[in-house]
Amino acid sequence: MSTKRTVIRAGVLLVPVLLIAGWEIIVRAGLVPPSQSAAPSVVALRLARLVVSGELPRHGGHSLLRLIVGVVVGGVLGVVSSMYLVKSRLADHLISPTIQLLAGIPVVVWIPFWVMFFGTGEEFKVAMVAISTFFLVHFHSFVALRSVQRDYMELADIYEKSYWEKVKDVLIPSAAPAILTATRTALAFGWVVIFFVEYASARHGSEGLGWFIADARAVGKVEEEFSGLLFLAILAFMTDWLIARIQRHFARWSDSLEHMIAQEGL
């Protein structure tokens, strides 16, 4: 790798370093009351201690599991429903307008319905992530499947492929980049949703980063509150990095500009 490229790549750290430095200066200068914020150096030490003790990984694990189950359930339902609507014009005519209507509803509005169906337990939290994922994946997948070139389907007809072979060999691979892009967005949004529902439904003895942060705030442990937030950000970054790798793998055949940049860097 050239020196220039190494310098450019290292530059990605510039903005976070500047932000952290600014934050440290502001807190040390007493510009923010100690009850509202803690210096990054203090937060980092507390974060390390909470990670070593296993407390943050335990809460993070609960949040991560809810997120993954929710994204998988919502994602699979989104792909399956879009495939069905692409295959059946009648179903598309009957169902698509309703899905479009429901998709416009803010995700928080689903809370009373999901509480009614699932209570406030695990199912509720997973369902909240699933519903936000479902709409995102459904629409991206629907558009991508609709856009599969007729030429490729004709080719499959010439080789006498069954419907499932067409799904496996033509429809899904063709739509995979769009589906994975939607899943990546859903995952990022899913962290917001999972934090919100854990935070909002926090009770003594709950598990999850949302509850951990809510609890820390309630008892005035500012360092722990910020440690939890930082740990959440790190987990969100890691899941995004992972899905980006998966996306790159499944779109390695594509020569789109976005993919070339992802492969070759700047």
């Binding site: 030429d151 490729y152 004709e154 080719l155 007809d157 010439i158 080789y159 006498e160 072979e165 060999d169 033509v170 691979p173 063709s174 995979a176 390695r252 055949w253 594509s254 020569d255």
Partner: protein, 250 residues
């Protein structure tokens, strides 16, 4: 073994259009088993539509297309088509694109056949490459291997050499003719190039446009392998070109 092809189209309207004129009218020809026939005509005359009709991909026409006496009513493995743009699946490698054309039932036999065809078209070193990384000539070779791997009875070629440089075109033509020596298949090729049509075919049909009909036919009774630049071939190429020029002037 190739099969005899019979095409009898009384009429076909312009597809996807409000134009009520016929695109094709009273067009009939036969191709004997293992024969190679070229259709020469101008762009937009309806040649690709005619190939699609023969392939069973286009059914909105009056008439009948039959292979070995059986009417063609839908696409099938017996009839392979090499499209103008080669139509490789971009998410499959060279090997997987060829594999896509095989019947999954006999995977061991298929593997042998795929490897054999990859070797015939000289792409052993590119078998794991993505289509985006292939040159035009390499894409064409994959398309030929894919068309041959399942041993079709009829092969349709839609301007398969368009846009290729001369060396690549000659290489592909030689590979195609070699392949046809090893595996007998009836071939119908659509082309713009008189030279390509004369070099490759047993018969050349000249087509009119609006509506498309056969206006003349030239037989080429010459053994293969043929030599490019052969006097007899050159004379025939000149004769057909002159005929087309006269038609154009008229």
């Amino acid at each position: 073994m190739g099969s005899p092809l019979t095409v009898r189209v009384s009429s076909m309207k312009y597809p996807d259009s409000t134009d009520q004129r016929n695109l094709i009218e009273d067009l009939s020809f036969e191709v004997p088993a293992d024969g190679i026939v070229s259709l020469l005509g101008r762009s937009g005359a309806g040649k690709t539509t005619l190939l699609r009709m023969i392939a069973g991909l286009e059914r909105r026409f009056q008439g009948e297309v039959s292979l070995n006496g059986g009417q063609i009513s839908r696409p099938s493995r017996d009839i392979q088509i090499v499209f103008q743009d080669y139509r490789l699946l971009p998410w499959k490698t060279v090997y997987e694109n060829i594999e896509f054309a095989t019947n999954k039932a006999d995977s061991e036999h298929n593997k042998t056949q795929i490897d054999r065809w990859i070797e015939i078209v000289g792409l052993q070193h590119r078998k794991n490459a993505w289509p985006k990384n292939l040159s035009g000539g390499e894409e064409g070779r994959v398309a030929f291997a894919r068309a041959f791997v399942d041993q079709p009875r009829l092969l349709l070629l839609d301007e398969p050499f368009r846009g290729l440089d001369l060396a690549t075109k000659f290489d592909l033509q030689d590979q195609l003719l070699n392949a046809l020596r090893n595996q007998s298949t009836t071939v119908v090729m659509v082309s713009h190039s008189v030279e390509d049509a004369v070099f490759m075919s047993d018969s050349v049909f000249l087509l009119s446009e609006s509506p498309m009909r056969i206006v003349n036919q030239f037989k080429i009774d010459m053994p293969r392998p043929r030599q490019r630049g052969d006097q007899q071939l050159s004379a025939l190429t000149a004769k057909i070109t002159e005929y087309l020029a006269t038609q154009q002037r008229a």
